[in-house]
Subunit: 413 residues, 2 copies
């Protein structure tokens, strides 16, 4: 790539240098405009393109970052013969690359040009390590017990080839070409150290499609994420991020990190869409239109779980999804759900190959995802309309400090 | 769906009633805001969500409509036993549905709710008829010769199962959930009259990702569509739309219509990305950064096709894509290219299953697509990096007038 081309994408602002997690610069920040190429007038970007997410910080980006319109998940396995040394070199390359891309800059000499003209568009690149990584990189002593395999659930129909993996990368952006550009750059920078294990694409609503930011809808039409913990809540960090008290132990590399559970959840939409609206709402326990509990109020009103109808039956049925997954029914188990929808056309069985790339974040999967999924697996009325087709569990290190790469405290421990 | 839910999505404005082709109402038009449900304050949508495209008009929407961020293509075949009568009923249902959806309204009683909260988001739904439709609907006398099968090209590797079809629907929107919602609604409304033949998903840049509207980039990183005819050009209508002089003939149902050539063009990105930038630019004949000809200037500067280098060689090589596809090298053949990129993950061969859903529009495919593709097929340096994997040719009737459905003049002739 010519110097010209790189300078075209170089932001005048200092996106990425702020250090705070998920700090969003952009049109509102006033700094993110292009340095024009020779003789060209700089073009002001709108906030969609101009918004950049900081790469460096206490936590990696892509966890508390607002949902993005486009996402790619890709898992890699270390190549035969590659170990800790190659993994360290790779994480160093990938971190440098992610830092450049998230600031709206080019991927270096071999840049494909696919992201030219666009700003960083809220690009995030997030890295995680799967259980098998620690075997292959001879780091078993540093592997936390939280990475033990998830229990089997009776409704799972998991495809091992699309599950787990040594390394996991989550890419999100508000522009499809910016996201694709990052995916290709990450793959190219991988070199010979790793091989692609699986890759999935997803999406969310476009910025500006709704009048205000709101809970996302999934492809069943439900508001999805109503009960998500909020960063403003006092115990948010404790629930989502691995505490820094781990410092000084063999797991200190995980301080400020989190665990991601990734599930490809196929929605059986042909069946679901045959239910009447009323029946769908009984399955969920909430109104479809606005997410309010069937016991009334608004989306944020608490479920009146004991309320009965004149005939004595519960208004929110025993097996309603919202009842079974309610944090107060699960010892306060909390996870931050941050999914993408997926739609890969028509499946081999003739039904839509569509659903949710469920991604949830928690300080401990055994106190977040697992207990809730165990209950859902047994008694959720929604189970008849979904199928878990792939699964992954990844330890996601804290954010890299300036001059550091993601995972450095593990790989150079 | 409750009346409440429908009214939530009902626009106060009169999107769709304007009658002019591709007239875009929206924030700029001032009228597109929501009627709030009981007690709810109406929410003003931003222009991304609020923009609605008129369904009725001289031409169907989705031809001169600006590129949308998300697209679905779906082809259907008439079910055994279904003929002209069933097709007419289907086109009546589909037209009524498209008119509602494009105005941001619900799909009726069985609405899935997936588009709730969002505005119309520039949704378009465009309908076409393939060659085989006229056999199955006993309308062979009304089939124009322009629907004769496209010639075979030596570089084609076409999958018949993903090619052609009796009926073709193109859906585009600037929000992925709005587009998916429309796709499911179109499938549901199809009922028993037709069966899905194939379905493909695509995308373009998000609104606002770049500082100004500009020529789209494809997944090779090239600006793609530089030489597209512009609606402001005097002969634009004549080149793109079937003239109304056909009125009074047996093809008068096509007046104001167009022909769409659809090609799934796989890009061999692993090979392409191994070329240096300089070699890529020689393949295309234009600079990657800004689309200017290698002979200088800006994106819109004419190619200096005869210019030579000091060593006597042509600056824009003999086999450069831009030279071979230049309208002035093809007797002025013109087509309006309006594609979506696609990315369906990793293909069976381990390479990215990505490329271009090439869609071009012209008044006559034998004077638009065919002569250009013939030349490209023989001598284009780009051919080594692409593969045509599926193909379709569809006659797209003119737009429905108020009270009319798309294709009515054919189906009730």
């Amino acid at each position: 790539m010519h110097d010209n081309d790189i300078s075209r994408r170089r932001l005048l602002g200092t996106v990425g240098a702020a250090g705070a997690t998920g700090l969003v610069l952009g049109a509102a920040g006033g700094a993110a405009t292009y340095a024009g190429a020779s003789g060209e007038t700089p073009t002001a970007l709108t906030s969609v393109g101009a918004t950049g997410i900081a790469f460096h910080g206490e936590h990696q980006a892509g966890i508390t970052t607002p949902l993005q319109a486009c996402g790619h998940l890709i898992a890699f396995d270390l190549a035969p013969g590659a170990g800790r040394r190659e993994a360290a070199a790779l994480m160093r390359r990938w971190s440098a690359l992610a830092s450049e891309l998230m600031a709206g800059r080019a991927a270096g000499d071999g840049d494909t040009g696919v992201a030219l003209d666009a700003g960083p568009s809220s690009l995030t690149v997030t890295f995680g390590f799967g259980r098998t990584f620690f075997d292959r990189a001879a780091l078993v002593a540093q592997r936390p017990p939280e990475l033990d395999p998830l229990p089997a659930f009776s409704s799972d129909q998991l495809d091992a080839k699309r599950s787990n993996g040594d390394l996991w990368v989550q890419i999100g952006a508000n522009d499809a070409l910016v996201a694709f550009h990052a995916l290709r750059a990450i793959q190219k920078a991988a070199g010979d150290a790793v091989r692609v294990r699986w890759q999935m694409n997803g999406f969310n609503r476009s910025p500006g499609a709704t009048g205000k930011p709101m809970t996302a809808r999934n492809l069943m039409g439900q508001l999805d994420g109503t009960r998500n913990p909020k960063p403003s809540e006092a115990d948010f960090d404790k629930r989502i991020f691995v505490p820094s008290e781990t410092s000084g132990t063999k797991y200190d590399w995980l301080a400020g990190g989190s665990y991601a559970v990734v599930r490809r959840i196929r929605m059986l939409l042909d069946d679901w869409e045959q239910l009447s609206l009323k029946k769908q709402e009984l399955v969920i326990g909430r109104r479809k239109s606005d997410g309010a509990p069937l016991t009334g109020g608004t989306e944020t009103t608490e479920l009146a779980l004991e309320e009965t109808r004149p005939d004595g039956k519960l208004v929110i049925p025993d097996n309603a999804h919202a009842r079974i997954s309610a944090p107060e029914q699960n010892g306060g188990a909390a996870m931050l759900r941050r999914p993408f929808s997926f739609h890969d056309g028509i499946g081999a069985d003739g039904t839509p190959d569509a659903g949710l790339l469920f991604i949830c974040w928690q300080a401990d999967p055994l106190r977040g995802f697992v207990p809730v999924q165990r209950k859902l697996d047994r008694g959720d009325a929604l189970s008849a309309f979904i199928r878990h087709e792939a699964s992954g569990l990844f330890a996601v290190p804290g954010g890299a400090r300036a001059g550091e790469y993601v995972g450095q405290r593990l790989l150079e421990s």
